[in-house]
Amino acid sequence: MRPARQRIDVYFLKLIFKNVFRAKLRSSLTIIGLVIAIMAFGLLQTVVDAWFAGANASSAARMVTRNAISLVFPMPSYYRDRIKAVPGVKAVAHSQWFGGIYIEPKNFFPQFAVDHENFFEMYPEFLMTPEELLAFKRDRQGAVVGRKLADQFGWKVGDVVPIRGTIFPGEWRFTIRAIFDGKDETTITRQFYFQWEYINEYLKKRFPRRADQIGVFNIEVTDPGRIADIAKAVDAEFKNSLAETLTETEKAFQLGFVAQSEAIVVAIRVVSFVVVFIIMAVVANTMAMTARERLAEYATLKALGFSPKFVAALVYGEALMLSSIGAGIGILLTLPVASGFANSPAGAIFAAFKVSSDTVLMQMACALVVGLVAALVPGWRSARIRIVDGLRHVG
């Protein structure tokens, strides 16, 4: 009988599958570890993604103009007309960070006083009925809130929301006139908008020197391809003025905020990979123990005529099956856990918390790397074991 090359067939897979669950407790604990690690990796990557969600949802046709010194310094409101006159500018609105507290500080959500006449025309991704928008424009104390925010606090149109001002002292009361949905899942719907005129009128009465000041101008351009030139033209308009400006794309403006917390993002990324490294060591240990216990079996297979490659493939196959099972369950659990977190009070700090397809692919890649690396040494040793040495492991 002439020997053929060994077939990697169903028999081989069956052998691997049976081997995986031979030491049930050890395999189960390793799989649980893998599930937790892959899930933790996915969730941490999603946190990083959520950090960049605002920037990624930015429009390529919009710019933001702020005071060149710092965001905390305002600009005169009359800049608006001069910006509007810059060639390439299609529309201008403005907004002001409010920074109020709803009941208690832990209920944080972003609040902006906006140019109620023009702002929402510039943001078509915020979907609301024309009637609601009109009701907002007609009510000085009116507010527009995102769907996620409304859902979080159980608000509905007509509800009155009291907010304690910090930058603008006092108790402010807003009536919800519209609740907007996002155009798609990348649109952030956790903001609270109200009329800038509302606080400006107050400032005129109480702090006249702070009135008619703007935090940022939101600009829409006619040609996104010329956005850099238009930004330069806007800034040139205010060169050598009392409040020089810095104009940048909406994305760059958002990324500027992310950059301030870059150390945290880097730390999260590092931790996510440390988690993978730890589980790699755990799986490698499992495989080392497994291979050591089965040296006699591997030696027997080699004695029967199976090649060292076949033996190594058994070890690699077992490690990959183990990591695949763990990763599969981990990935499946990541989705509901992320969803649960997004809907929890803790998850509310993120505008968008959704597991991306890239993250799932990274989880799969991690599982593959974990399986391959974990089998590296035991696979090599098992393949190289001398038959006579391996057979001595019996009894």
């Binding site: 053929a4 077939r7 028999y11 029967l304």
Partner: protein, 233 residues
């Protein structure tokens, strides 16, 4: 000898332990005829298992000639030797060395995966072989569901399923009770007498050795006796 299957001339083997070469076999010269049943006997450390390993092609000698069926297996590469073993050698170990996660059927089928047989041909052959060793009813049982004697019979089935030239048995009755040992020895005798299998068996047990036609004694790596068994056959 015209009918010589195993031809050994001036075979020597040593192992390295603690940086020093420890001789295990010295100048062994031995011929084994086709269809013979030979017992290698000797105390621990006499080199009998080493000699068996060399004949089985799972170890290589330092010097000397080792021809099996006219082929010098010392010249074969690792890969060639693996193929040669798959075709020519059937192994029976003291502790059976069955795969615990595979059924009796699957264990016996294992060496057939290295052949060109189709699935149905493999099934037919495995069923026939298990029937031959009296385990037709136990095909779907796992090793831990079988007695020691039954496990060794599965191992014998695995060893003969490819119809190898030589059966090498390393203390095949060493882990069995008296009755099971007698059954296994009877089966080996049957394979030798009725199917003409050449069997080389290492054993400590003088009683087991009597099952063989020929007794070869080793001591301290040297051949010290070669006689025809009086009790057997």
């Amino acid at each position: 000898m015209a009918n010589t299957l195993v031809e050994i001339k001036h075979l020597a083997k040593s192992y390295t332990r603690g940086g020093q070469a420890v001789p295990v076999l010295y100048d062994i010269t031995l011929d084994i005829a086709r269809g013979d049943f030979i017992s290698l006997m000797g105390p621990s450390g006499s080199g009998k298992s080493t000699l068996l390993n060399l004949i089985a092609g799972i170890d290589k000698p330092d010097s000397g000639i080792l021809r099996i069926d006219g082929e010098d297996i010392t010249k074969l590469s690792e890969g060639e030797l693996a193929d040669w073993r798959a075709s020519n050698i059937g192994f029976i170990f003291q502790f059976y060395n069955l795969m615990p996660v595979l059924t009796a059927f699957e264990n016996v089928e294992l060496p057939l995966l290295l052949t060109n047989l189709s699935k149905s041909e493999r099934r037919e052959r495995v069923e026939m072989t298990l029937a031959l060793v009296g385990l037709a009813e136990r095909m779907e049982h796992y090793p831990n569901e079988l007695s020691g004697g039954q496990q060794q019979r599965v191992a014998i089935a695995r060893a003969i399923v490819t119809d190898p030239t030589i059966l090498v048995c390393d203390e095949p009755t060493g882990d069995l009770d008296k009755q099971s040992a007698a059954d296994v020895l009877a089966m080996l005798k049957q394979l030798n007498e009725e199917m003409g299998k050449t069997i080389i068996m290492v054993t400590h047990d003088a009683h087991a050795a009597e099952a063989a036609r020929r007794l070869v004694h080793l001591e301290k790596g040297e051949l010290i006796g070669d006689a025809t068994s009086t009790a057997a056959h």
